[in-house]
């Protein structure tokens, strides 16, 4: 065996997903989430290549006596076209039966056009095939017909319940602290579960082991700074990244105070105990604060105070241990918390609503490199969740309508065990099969289920492969929305005695082609997904502050299918991609829509993203993003009538609606552009000046249909957009 770690030669940052290839046999491996690789050899000489996009390929010859450990530093550098082609081709061989997975390099994000200059990880994901955006400007993602609560977002193994700041306009992820992002929307390995539709696996930087680095940025709405460096060279490093918005400060300048701001903090310690053990401690803390008080709100009438406070936190302690040359393990203790307070005071009345979620859990994941053909993963996890929804405290006349109450916490323990085997059947065939057993115990009710997984790949040629996959997924909690529009105060609830776990079956087939003599990569994928025990609310259901919301829930099925196309160019002066998704998403509920099938709100038939980056010189980069999406669906009011009361002394006006979600809003399309100037890279102080514009041609992206007035006084339906043309600038620096 030859094993070790692959890392950046300067920062010592471990590199994830490096292609490790035996040049003699073309057997290979990929470095895992901690940069660890392992390959076995029959001869006593090994000739190995290590390739990774953005780094120069490394070739090494090893004399092998016993198990040999070699850690490989990799140097950044421009990669030649043919080298890219070679590494991409090899990488595709080594990637195995991987379908429905997208890797995002966060370091390249800050030159892309963005909203108000804040390049956002989740918004970049919305540009990928199969991933839809929700309301304009927000970072909710809808993956392959799944709702926004069907995505498991992990930050260093810790789930994040509310990934948005500012009502979802910015994500909680500071790109400067992020090393690697993987979006998985199909062909799930058995190590992943808990949500039906996707996994977003985000890994933070480990911290530079060699020297101290400071980087940051100033934008239109927020600024950030990241400091990392060694505590003890090559042994212990740290990273601290902080960000704060200043909408509150800017609004003071124009004498219209908006006392809202957010801040977040990422911190990490990386301790290399010895050659076989490594300890990571990472944490995230973020807060959104709105505080309108009497002296600031003359314009708000009788409202004397209003505020909200959204708190997000995660904490992970992880131990990587190399038990042997073949067995690598990751042990983790994880905690996650999310809470919100909403308070209001008007005249002599006051109300406070508070909800909290707290998780405590642990897991163990093992990578066992049986041979170059067999790669086993197995592990187990357990998480205790405590949900405390809708603590309410009221005073004044409002107590007549809303009583104070202390909610009863809901405890649920979720657990899972899995095993998967990636097996190279032959030179052309690769299979990844496995099973996950998951379950939960809540209110003395146990749930358990098996989640089989299967992926198969056939290498037709060295640059062309076909793949297929099947995944069953289970989910033990869901997001209960308090209104017809998603809000950060929407509540996560676990399954209960009455509310059963959701589960889904997804089938996918795809093809991947690295076009010869170009740096073009083309992928096409078709999928079909059936979801069970999905939730909708009864017509007229009252969810707001209703702890008996289970009485308002209906259970049904959902079905999603479609085709995704992705053409990417990842080398040369002009890079970028074109993504197109054609999809359908339907619901089946006996008690809704007269029992007829109806489309989901986010059933948006066509979704196109065109992303272009042009770097004519080392000093300049120009980017453009154009997006097009069929309009979202809604239930429209198309008539009304009177119904009198029994004494004819009053009438109700009763609306007449279309079939549920039968109407499509106007399509959304938008062009964003940016230009970035890079300072000379040989200097110690490096900076970037970014100028850009969001929504260049100022088109409304409809998010609602409302009734307005035309110029002649008649009523019309109209669809407002949230944001028009927003120019911005940003300044990024690195020392």
């Amino acid at each position: 065996m030859v094993n070790g770690y692959v890392f950046d030669s300067i920062s010592k940052e471990s590199l994830i997903g490096v292609s490790v290839l035996d040049e003699s046999t073309h057997a290979g491996s990929i470095s895992n989430a901690f940069g660890f690789y392992s390959l076995s050899f029959k001869s006593d000489t090994a000739f190995i290549s290590f390739s990774y996009v953005g780094y120069k390929t490394v070739y090494r010859k090893f004399k092998i006596t016993n198990d040999t450990s070699f850690s490989i530093p990799m140097v950044t550098g421009a990669v030649q076209l043919n080298e890219i082609k070679l590494s991409v081709v090899k990488k595709k061989v080594d990637n195995g039966a991987v379908l429905g997975q997208i890797n995002i390099d966060p370091k390249k994000l800050h030159t892309m056009p963005s909203f108000a200059g804040e390049t956002d990880l989740l918004k970049i994901m919305q540009l990928m095939p199969g991933v839809k955006a929700g309301q304009e400007g927000t970072n909710g993602i809808y993956v392959r017909g799944g709702n926004a609560d069907q995505n498991l977002i992990l930050l260093d193994d810790a789930p994040v319940y509310n990934p948005g700041h500012l009502l979802g306009f910015f994500s909680v992820f500071n790109n400067d602290a992020i090393k690697d992002v993987k979006l998985i929307k199909g062909g799930f390995d058995a190590q992943y579960g808990s949500r039906l539709s996707s996994v977003v696996d985000i890994r933070t930087e480990d911290g530079n082991m060699r020297k101290t680095e400071l980087e940051g940025g100033l934008g239109l709405l927020s600024s950030r700074v990241t400091l990392q460096g060694p505590i003890k060279k090559d042994t212990i490093s740290y990273l601290i990244a902080a960000r704060r918005s200043y909408v509150d400060q800017l609004s003071k300048l124009i004498k219209f105070p908006v006392p809202y701001y957010f801040y977040d903090l990422n911190a990490k310690i990386n301790y290399k105990i010895n050659s076989k053990n490594r300890l990571y401690v990472s944490t995230y803390f973020g807060n959104d604060i709105l505080n309108i008080s009497q002296d600031k709100i003359e314009q708000y009438g009788t409202l004397s105070g209003f505020g909200f406070n959204l708190l997000n936190s995660t904490g992970t302690v992880r131990l990587n241990r190399e038990h042997s040359s073949k067995l690598f393990a990751n042990y983790a203790l994880i905690t996650t918390g999310f809470s919100y307070d909403v308070s209001g005071q008007f005249t002599s009345n006051s109300i406070l609503v508070r909800s909290t979620i707290r998780d405590w859990g642990g897991k163990a994941d093992y990578n066992y490199y049986v041979s170059n053909k067999h790669f086993l993963k197995f592990g187990f996890s357990a998480t205790a969740h405590v949900f405390t929804p809708n603590f309410i405290s009221t005073s004044g006349e409002i107590t007549e309508f809303i009583k104070s109450r202390k909610p009863i916490p809901i405890y649920i323990t979720e657990y899972a065990a899995y095993i998967s085997d990636q097996y190279k059947l032959s030179k052309r065939w690769m299979i990844n099969y496995g099973v996950r057993a998951s379950g939960a115990i809540v209110q003395d009710t146990p749930y358990i289920g098996l989640e089989p997984r299967l992926s198969l790949a056939y290498q037709v040629k060295s640059n062309f492969s076909l793949k297929t996959s099947y995944s069953r997924m289970r989910q033990y909690m869901h997001l209960v929305s308090s209104s017809t529009v998603s809000l950060p105060t929407d509540l996560w609830y676990p399954v209960t005695k009455e509310v059963k776990p959701l589960y889904s079956d997804q089938y996918a087939v795809g093809a991947e082609w690295n076009i010869p003599k170009t740096s073009l990569r083309f992928m096409a994928e078709g999928y079909y997904k059936k979801m069970y025990n999905v939730i909708q609310y009864k017509e007229g259901a009252e969810i707001l502050l209703n702890d008996n919301f289970e009485q308002e829930i209906l259970f049904g099925k959902a079905e999603a299918y479609g085709a995704e196309f992705f053409l990417q160019k990842n080398a040369g002066k002009l890079t970028g991609w074109v993504a197109y998704t054609l999809s359908w998403s339907l619901n089946y509920f006996d008690e809704l829509n007269g029992g007829k099938a109806f489309y989901s709100k986010f059933d948006r038939r066509h979704d196109v993203s065109i992303v272009m980056n042009y770097a004519p010189t080392k000093k300049w980069n120009f980017s453009a993003v154009w997006v097009y999406m069929t309009g979202a669906r809604f239930t429209a009011q198309i008539g009304q009538y009177f119904v009198p009361n029994a004494s004819l002394t009053d009438v109700n006006v009763v609306p007449i609606y279309t079939d549920r979600n039968a109407v499509t809003m106007s399509p959304t399309h938008r062009l964003d552009m940016s230009a970035t100037y890079f300072s000379p890279q040989e200097k110690k102080f490096k900076y970037e000046l970014v100028m850009g514009v969001y929504n260049l041609y100022n088109r409304a992206s409809p998010f609602v249909v409302e009734i307005g007035r035309s110029s002649n006084g008649s009523l019309i339906y109209q669809q407002p957009g949230l944001f028009g043309t927003v120019p911005y600038f940003a300044f990024n620096f690195k020392i």
């Binding site: 300048l253 007229g540 008539g639 009523l715 669809q719 407002p720 043309t725």
Partner: protein
Amino acid sequence: MKKKSFYIVLLFLAISCRPKPLEITLDAAPQKLVIASQIVPETVLGVLVTRTFPALEHNIFVTGTNNVSQGFIDQVIVENAIVTVTYVGKIDTLYAVDTIPGLYVSVSTLQMPYEKYELNVYDPVLSESVSAVSTMLKGVEFDTVYPVVQNDNSVRLKYFFKDFVGPNYYLLNVYKASSNNNLANLDVNSFPFASGKNELIQSVLINDIVYNTNSISSEIELKGIVSSDTIGVTLAHISEGYFRFLSAQGKINGLIGQFFREPVNVPTNVTNGYGYFSAYDADVKVIDLNKY
């Protein structure tokens, strides 16, 4: 520096203007008839016939006033409709009430439990017909109903009645004489639609699934009633469909309903139309609160 920052921010705001909303054309629902019905036991069956109107209707009021425009009235109110009720092989024709356009009544239609009543309405203007069928359920009676007067402005009503076997639904209405009437003029048998007579104060929908016994006993706080009022209380055994119709209407209304609920489709038993035709018998009690 502060002044420069002010103008920079203002400039960005000026450029970052909200885009013009996009118009969208939605086909209006075809105009249909709407039915509402009311029964005064052993006295009158009344059916109000109106038409639907567009969601974007903007000519409801005369400009600058709160008066409903004649054009809107002509559009919505159905006059000269042909309204019949068929039951036990008999056809009763309902006649228009001059003082209340759109209202058609029959004074000879009997309330017969378990009997099926079929309503047919024809509108000569739209050339549209609608029909509805309602089976009159067995009548229910109060065992006891009495007020508890706590003070001049606080009155509670307690009631008790026997529940029928199986799933059942009941409607309890509380009326009071309008301020124009005194006890001498209160006529519980007068037509409740008659403006200036009795006014519906409160409606309570009762689903017997929440009661584990074979009787129903509860109390309600009467809103808008004072200790000097006279009230009429009616109790009717209604169908599940009518119960759902009335429940759905309750969900549409109110500030909470507008912003925090999914759209509600109000059910109907009117074929080719909207509203509800409900035939039911009701027990009526008149209570003079001065006596309590």
